[in-house]
């Protein structure tokens, strides 16, 4: 209901919006003012009148006109702008983002608000489209414009009123363009998939079309038609006649009530990487995760969906499966063999009342908290009854050849299955006319829905990446799979870079009026040098040292002054914040910041002046800090060393110049720092890191080596740690609530339960102590196998996997004792030293600049909530960057192995009743050997208590294999024809 309009002296009109909200059963009347205005422009460059009505914002800037004066034409020759309906955005946001269609789009405010209410992530993507200006999207605030605002009629539903408001936008633009345009005729096409609405629109003389009708009238329409999502592509029916059905999800109110009274739990589903039909959900109520077994209980949930679960009756509680099941092993058109089909019928019937459920929860609490006894591995099981948030994203996969019929010749679209690269996910059914063409290619798909009566989720094709195993396709695939933003930087991001580009130089420090420039300290006389991996182009740190007359040393760490160029709240800053980190792949680097900054203006290149943020200590002979100072500075690096060259120079006794001497000082002090850390209990863990060598001419990978560390690696590392710690203290001191820090929690004892149990069974006398990081470090040192020097490293690798992940946080979210970085054994820590490639460091730089009074700290880094958002994102980005990097190495190792089949040493790290997992240190890979590859399946016995598998091998010999055993394996690389993934295949010798 809407009140009357009233014109104000300021030119605005005011009306009131009155609506009734029901709350707790009662009704509430809400009255809000609503102002209508006549200064909202059409944003079209072709318009001749709107330039006269616009007003500036608080920064004095005028709105930019975005819509092209010469928009693209349809087949029938109509130049047009597009007005979109809400449902088009909700269901086809991928198409809106597609570069081959949808330019010059008008998004009515009514639509924007409906989208925001329905799906916040899609709203954000839509806002991103508007912001980037690349595709010329605009938001037209029709609800605030006097000309387009409409009041709700009597007995009209809100939806009908909004539809009418959207049509009003289309018709207003139509007339507006006709009366005020320049020479070109520009039409308005209203795209809407609701036939009823289209009919009304046509009655109002609006050119309304469905998505299909619109595409049919585009020159490239043929290619676009396949991209239309399945759920709005009317007329498509996926339902097969005899498909299994899943239990319906609980209603929202039932879920809310259940969560409130403690009978339902919310958590994130984590599908086992060895068995796609088994997942776990960690909920705060229990110490151990709840187990979810079988597709009926998983009930259409995807890995990392946020789900609502309900406990199953106690007789269904069980041990985690010790069997390996992979989707790709199961024929792609027949039914997956559920391990637990017997659960299907009884799934919901066992537990009836809430009272019983509460009793059950108490039992579950008991079972999860006791760690000893006969039932030690018995875990409460649960089933999914609702999904709070889907983790659906773009998925990469390939069409299952067996799902494409060979006699298919027609041009009609057929449904087929797409096997995803991520093997913990189910296959997806799509419809396409080009299934045959896409065979053998990596394709991108999106999931649209998973109805209860469909065995598989429905999705649609987005685009193809190229041939399987071509380097480009695989690289792009893994970037997509790990959600890494790899598109080139948009224009408005690049616009934030200095105009001078590569010719930018450090300005004159003396003759300047810039107060900030005057605050910079000139350190160009210091003998600064940088030490990095060979061919490093983004140098973010450099060092110097010199002896002081009092016998102490002056040591400086100089970090690239990225925040001089990346100012808060610019498009550049926002892009950096959303990327969060650079991603390093074997053959490619995805930058967090544009090249110009990373590899030139910020990079502390030798022989040129560069801005830096410096930390300068006075250290005594034992590397204790006497004094520390922080300053923005100007430096001139004397040399950029590689680790190896620095090492040779230090070792070369004939070199006695000042620079070499200062590096020797650094080396000496770094060794003392390292010893101090180790004494405090810093951990020396291991991961099987390898490096891939590329042939310099063909850029084919040809060799794999384990990364080796030089003293100079550790030299740089120690001083970076010291700088990070010093900066962390300083910014925490200045911003106790919002300092950007990094913590590493101690591992909970349960994480090490299995590893310690394995040790006590297989290596009596050895164990890992968890009392403190010092105790852990010492106990790891003691875990030696005199016969096998590698055993200790193996154990370190396995321990690393039991550790918690370090995380970024803002200091307000934890108490000081919890700041502790367990692995480094320091009380407080942050990341400060790599601002070119990590966003945490950018924030730390700004906070440090604020702390030393160089410039005011931006509000967003002083606000707890905003810091929370930043922290959450960079933690996520950091993780996916790591995974992407590892996946890239894995892929290239596979390529190397393809040509180098050989026998290698391996270690058994896991045992299942139908296979073993072996780690091959030489390649840093691990692989599964299934029982049928080992020997006779029928005679095999798995002794769970001893982690030992007994079987008759293919030669008829009896063999036992247990965890920690050293075995010889044949390593070769095979391509899985179903999923297209190349995997290391191991065979036991």
């Amino acid at each position: 209901m809407i009140g009357n309009r009233k014109r104000l002296s300021s030119g605005l009109s005011v009306t009131s919006k009155v609506f009734v909200r029901s709350r707790n059963g009662g009704a509430q009347k809400i009255v809000r003012e609503h102002y209508l205005r006549d200064d909202i422009p059409c944003y079209s460059k072709a318009c001749k009148v709107c330039h006269d009505i616009i007003k500036t914002d608080a920064a004095g800037e005028l709105p930019r006109f975005i819509l092209s004066e010469n928009p693209s034409k349809t087949k029938s020759g109509l130049r047009h702008y597009i007005v979109v309906d809400t449902n088009i955005i909700l269901h086809a946001i991928d198409l809106l983002e597609n570069v081959s269609c949808f330019y010059d789009v008008i998004v009515p405010q009514t639509v924007l608000e409906e989208v925001k209410n329905r799906s916040f992530p899609i709203y954000q993507r839509l806002r991103g489209l508007v912001k980037s200006e690349d595709k010329r999207f605009i938001v037209f605030h029709n609800e605030y414009a006097e000309a387009t605002y409409i009041t709700r009629n009597k007995n009209e539903s809100i939806n009908d009123r909004n539809d009418r408001a959207i049509r009003k936008v289309a018709s207003w633009f139509g007339t507006h363009m006709k009366t005020n345009h320049s020479e070109n005729d520009i039409g308005i096409i209203f795209i809407c998939n609701d036939a009823d609405n289209r009919q009304k629109a046509r009655a109002e003389k609006i050119d309304a079309r469905s998505l299909v009708e619109y595409f049919d009238d585009l020159p490239n329409g043929e290619d676009l038609r396949d991209l239309i999502p399945s759920d709005i592509n009317s007329g498509v029916d996926f339902h097969n006649e005899n498909e299994a059905s899943f239990p319906e999800y609980y209603s929202n109110s039932r879920i809310m009530a259940g969560v409130k009274n403690g009978t339902l739990y919310q958590g994130m589903l984590n599908i086992s990487s060895y068995n796609f039909l088994q997942g776990t959900v960690q909920v705060p109520a229990f110490r151990k995760p709840l187990l979810i077994v079988g597709s009926q209980n998983l009930n259409r949930a995807f890995n990392s969906d946020s789900v609502i679960v309900e406990l199953l009756p106690k007789d269904k509680w069980r041990e985690p499966s010790t069997t390996i099941v992979e989707e790709s092993n199961i024929g792609s058109n027949d039914n997956a063999n559920d391990e637990d089909e017997e659960d299907v019928g009884s799934a919901g019937s066992g537990v009836v009342s809430d009272k019983e459920r509460i009793l059950l929860a108490q039992e579950a609490l008991k079972a999860t908290s006791s760690s000893a006894g006969v039932q030690k591995r018995l875990q409460p099981t649960a089933r999914v009854v609702g999904i709070m948030r889907r983790s659906w994203r773009y998925y990469v996969g390939q069409i299952a050849p067996s799902s494409v019929s060979s006699d298919d010749t027609g041009n009609a679209s057929k449904s087929c299955f797409v096997i995803l690269m991520d093997k913990v996910l189910p296959k997806i059914r799509i419809r396409t006319r080009k299934a045959k063409e896409f065979l053998g290619q990596r394709i991108v798909v999106v999931v649209d829905s998973w109805p209860a009566d469909s065995r598989y989720p429905n999705g649609h094709f987005v685009r193809t990446l190229g041939e399987i195993e071509s380097a480009e396709a695989e690289t792009e695939a893994l970037l997509l799979e790990h959600d890494v933003e790899y598109r080139p930087f948009s224009k408005n991001v690049l616009d934030c870079l200095p105009e001078e580009g590569d010719n930018w130089v450090v300005p004159d420090l003396v003759n300047t009026d810039d107060p900030k420039l005057k605050k910079r300290v000139d350190l160009r006389d210091k003998l600064v040098c940088s030490i990095d991996p060979p061919n490093c182009v983004d140098i973010d740190d450099a060092l110097h040292a010199k002896p002081l007359p009092n016998g102490n040393y002056e040591v400086g760490v100089h970090i690239a002054d990225v925040t001089h160029f990346v100012k808060p709240n610019t498009a550049l800053d926002q892009e950096g914040a959303s990327r969060g980190t650079s991603v390093y792949l074997v053959d490619k680097r995805i930058d967090m910041l544009p090249m110009l900054l990373g590899t030139n203006l910020c990079s502390l290149k030798p022989y040129v002046d560069r801005f830096a943020f410096s930390v300068i200590w006075e250290l005594d002979d034992n590397a204790n800090i006497v004094k520390v100072e922080y300053m923005k500075s100007v430096i001139k690096s004397r040399e950029a060393f590689s680790y190896e060259r620095a090492q040779t120079r230090i070792d070369d006794k004939s070199q006695t110049d000042e620079l070499t001497e200062s590096m020797r000082i650094l080396l000496k002090l770094s060794k003392k720092l390292k010893q101090q850390r180790l004494d405090a209990g810093a951990l020396n863990l291991a991961s099987p890191e390898v490096k891939v060598h590329m042939d310099s001419e063909t850029s084919d990978p040809n060799e794999v080596e384990i990364k080796k560390l030089l003293e100079t690696n550790s030299l740089v590392e120690e001083f970076m740690l010291l700088a990070n710690i010093s900066v962390a203290r300083k910014i925490y001191d200045s911003y106790p609530q919002t300092a950007m820090l990094r913590r590493h929690a101690p591992p909970p004892a349960t994480n090490f339960e299995q590893l310690n149990d394995m040790l006590s069974v297989r290596k009596p006398g050895l164990s890992i102590s968890l009392e403190s990081s010092r105790a852990l470090a010492d106990s790891l040192d003691r875990c030696e196998d005199p016969q096998d020097p590698y055993f200790n490293t193996l154990l370190r690798i396995m321990s690393t996997r039991c550790m918690m992940a370090a995380e970024y946080f803002s200091s307000g979210s934890y108490g000081y004792p919890e700041f502790r970085h367990y692995g480094l054994a320091v009380d407080i820590y942050t990341h400060f030293t790599s601002p070119i490639r990590r966003y945490c460091d950018v924030v730390a730089h700004r906070q440090l600049a604020g702390a030393i009074g160089y410039e005011n700290l931006d509000l967003s880094h002083r606000d707890k909530n905003k810091m929370e958002t930043i922290v959450k994102n960079i933690n996520r980005r950091h993780r996916s960057a790591q995974f992407a990097g590892r996946a890239s190495i894995e892929y290239y190792v596979g390529q190397v192995m393809k040509n180098n089949e050989a026998e290698h040493e391996g270690y058994v790290i896991k045992c299942f009743n139908n296979g073993i997992v072996v780690l091959v240190p030489k390649f840093g890979i691990e692989g599964l050997i299934k029982l049928e590859m080992l020997g006779d399946v029928n005679t095999a016995i798995y002794d769970e208590d001893k982690y030992e598998l007994k079987f008759t091998d293919l030669q008829g010999k009896e063999r036992r294999v247990a965890v920690f055993d050293k075995v010889n394996v044949d390593v070769k690389s095979v391509k899985d024809e179903v999923s297209g993934n190349r995997k290391a295949q191991l065979l036991l010798r």
Binding site: K29, R32, E33
Partner: protein
């Protein structure tokens, strides 16, 4: 809905520097008081009635040097969406009352009325942000109506900060989400007789927020002034006839 859209529009359709619909009436309750006024700033609505200067009921209230101001603030239960009983001893209410008393103690020429009491009763009928500002404006008008000597108008306005953008005259929704600054400006000067900041605004942004709040207050002063003159003209024409 977006509190402040990238296109520069606020949740109720205003731009960053626009005030809400402002209505004021003076001498609304001529028979029951010495001075009275009614203010609407958007959906915030306040009635103010002034009694005095008069003899204080208690001798102890009398100050031999100047007049004593007593503000009574009552907020109607139906003034917000959710009906809620508010007690006068609520901390926030006491704070507002003292703030108002202190502000006007300096703006009214209290030394002209020694040993008297001026009682101001404020009734908030509806709240939609900027309650303190509306109360201040209502008091100014009612005191003028009562013929109490003042140095100049005290015109009040709120402003807040959304990211980088200062926003003028916050409504209830905006006030819930942003830190809000309320100021009272003396006449057309840049002198403040009232400044209240809820939550915080970074120091380097404060200036821009203050600047638009002062500009807004000046606008309010002019609107109040024209109402006073309108009323004055009516009165003088009545006198003449």
């Amino acid at each position: 809905m977006e509190l402040y859209s990238p296109e520069g529009l606020r949740i109720d359709g205003r731009r960053w520097n626009e005030i809400r619909n402002f209505e004021c009436r003076i001498n609304t309750h001529p028979n029951s008081s010495d001075g009275s006024s009614y203010i609407e700033q958007g959906n915030t609505k306040v009635i103010c009635v002034v009694q005095g200067p008069m003899e204080p009921a208690l001798r102890s209230q009398a100050n031999s040097n100047e007049a004593t101001l007593e503000v009574n603030l009552s907020v109607a239960n139906f003034s917000t969406t959710e009906r809620k009983k508010r007690s006068k001893s609520e901390k926030r209410m006491v704070q507002l009352k003292t703030t108002l008393e202190r502000t006007f103690q300096q703006s009214v020429m209290c030394n002209l009325y020694p040993r008297t009491l001026i009682r101001i009763d404020l009734h908030v009928l509806s709240q939609d942000g900027g309650m303190l500002a509306a109360c201040t404006n209502a008091m100014t008008l009612a005191l003028i109506d009562a013929g109490v000597s003042m140095y100049d108008y005290v015109a009040a306005m709120t402003a807040g900060l959304h990211d980088q953008t200062p926003l003028l005259d916050m409504n209830g929704l905006e006030e819930n989400d942003m830190s809000t600054l309320t100021i009272g400006v003396i006449g057309k000067s840049e002198k403040l007789s009232l400044l209240m900041l809820e939550d915080k605004i970074p120091l380097d942004r404060l200036e821009s927020v203050l600047a638009i709040a002062i500009a807004g207050s000046h606008k309010i002063r002019d609107l109040m002034d024209s109402e006073v003159r309108r009323h004055g003209n009516i009165r003088s024409s009545k006198l003449a006839s």
